[in-house]
Symmetry: C2
Subunit: 220 residues, 2 copies
C-alpha cells in the first residue's frame, strides 16, 4: 500500500517509520520540502530512514492511496487545502491529530471543541475524503507499538465509512493492536469524545511524569 503521511513532526515521523518497516511505500508531505530538509533534526532522521520519501502536500496526497493527518491540529485544514481536494477524493484519511491551541501557553486548549471537532471539521471541509479518527489519544510511540504499555488498553475509531474503518482496523492490527483493543465508537461526531480526552491526557502526563500510558475502558 502507498501511504502519504502529512506532517514532519515526531508523530508523523514515528508513523512513517513504522509503515516503512511494515514494507509499505511511504512519502511524508510537507509545505516546503527544501525547508524541511534544511532542519538538521529532520535531515538526520531522513538519513536513518532512506526508504521514506519527502514531497509537497500535493505530491504526497496525489501519490498516497491512504493518507495520515499528522499535522498540528491548527494547521490541518491549511495542509489539506494545499494537498488539493482533487487528490483527496474518495481516499481514506486517518486523522491522528488533535486541535491543540498553544496560543495561550501550556497546557493548551482545544479549538474546535465541545460542539465540534477537528475530525468533523476536516470531514465537512473535504466531504469526499473518508475520514477515520483514531490513535489520537496516546503518545505516538504507543500508537505504532501498543505492547510498550503492558496490559489491555484501547484505541478508538470514529468515522462514517465502514470500509474506511475496516482498512484502518487492518492497519491497527498490523501495528500490533489486538482485535479486542479496537473500540468503534460510531460516526465521526464521536471524535469529539476522543479529542476531548487530551486535557486529561496532558494532566496525567504531568502527574505521572511520563507518557507511557494509555486509556483502558474497564467493563467494555
Amino acid at each position: 500500500m502507498r501511504y502519504a503521511v502529512l506532517g514532519t513532526g515526531i508523530v508523523g515521523r514515528t508513523v512513517a517509520a513504522r509503515l516503512d518497516g511494515l514494507g509499505h511505500q511511504v512519502v511524508i508531505g510537507t509545505r516546503e520540502p527544501e525547508a524541511t530538509l534544511g532542519r538538521s533534526e529532520y535531515a538526520q532522521w531522513q538519513e536513518a530512514h532512506p526508504g521514506v520519501g519527502l514531497a509537497t502536500f500535493a505530491q504526497a496526497a496525489r501519490d498516497g492511496e491512504i493518507l495520515v493527518n499528522a499535522t498540528g491540529g491548527q494547521a490541518s485544514i491549511a495542509a489539506l487545502t494545499e494537498a488539493d481536494a482533487a487528490h483527496l477524493d474518495g481516499k481514506v484519511l486517518i486523522d491522528i491529530a488533535n486541535p491543540l491551541d498553544f496560543s495561550g501557553g501550556f497546557p493548551p486548549v482545544l479549538d474546535p471543541v465541545n460542539d465540534d471537532s477537528l475530525a468533523e471539521l476536516i470531514q465537512r471541509t473535504f466531504p469526499r475524503l473518508r475520514v477515520v479518527k483514531t490513535l489520537n489519544t496516546m503518545n505516538c510511540q504507543i500508537m505504532v507499538d501498543p505492547a510498550r504499555v503492558a496490559g489491555e488498553h484501547h484505541v478508538f475509531l470514529s468515522g462514517e465509512d465502514a470500509d474506511a474503518k475496516k482498512s484502518v482496523r487492518e492497519l491497527l492490527y498490523a501495528f500490533g493492536w489486538p482485535q479486542a483493543s479496537v473500540l468503534d465508537l460510531g460516526g465521526i461526531e464521536t471524535a469529539r469524545g476522543t479529542e476531548m480526552l487530551l486535557p486529561i491526557w496532558l494532566r496525567l502526563m504531568g502527574a505521572l511524569g511520563h507518557a507511557d500510558f494509555n486509556f483502558h475502558v474497564q467493563g467494555a
Copy 2:
C-alpha cells in the same frame, strides 16, 4: 461524620444512601423540601431510606461537616448560593457534578469547558470552600461500589487543599476504592481534564449499550 448531599437526583440519592449505610449522618439538600417530597419517585425513595434527612440547601449546608455537590452542573452555583456562603466557609465540598448543558439536546455539551471547569468556577465563587473534584467520571452506582466493574480502574482527585483531599481519599477507601485506584491529578485546574471525559463517557455508553464501565489508566 455529618454529610450534606446537595441534589435530589439519582446521583445524590445513591451517594446519600451509601453514606447512610456506612453509618454517617446524612441530610439531602434541595431548594424546596415540600416540593421534593411531593415527587412520588423521591417519596418512595425516602420511605426506603428513613435515616436520610431532607432540608433546604441552607439547612443542609449548615448541618453538614462535609458537603457533596450532586446537583446538576448548570444549577450548582445557584444551589451553593442558596446554601449561603457563611455555611460553606472552611468546609470540604466534594464536587461530583458535571457541567452538562442539555439545552441543545442530546448529547449535551459542557459549559464551562476547555479553559475553565465547574470545579474551578465553584472554587472561585466560594473561595473559602475547599473543593475536591472526584467521582464525576463514572456512573453513580460505580462511584459508591467500584467492585461493580471487574478489574482495576481509576478515580481521579483534583483540588488545592491537601487535607481536604486526604478526607476525600478516606471516604473513597470506605466506598471500596483500593488505594492504588485513587489517582491525584493535582490542583483544581486539573478538573478540566476529568470533566472533559464526559463526552467520551457518553459516547462509550452509546456504543457499549450500558454504563457499567470505568476508565483505567494503563501504565500509571
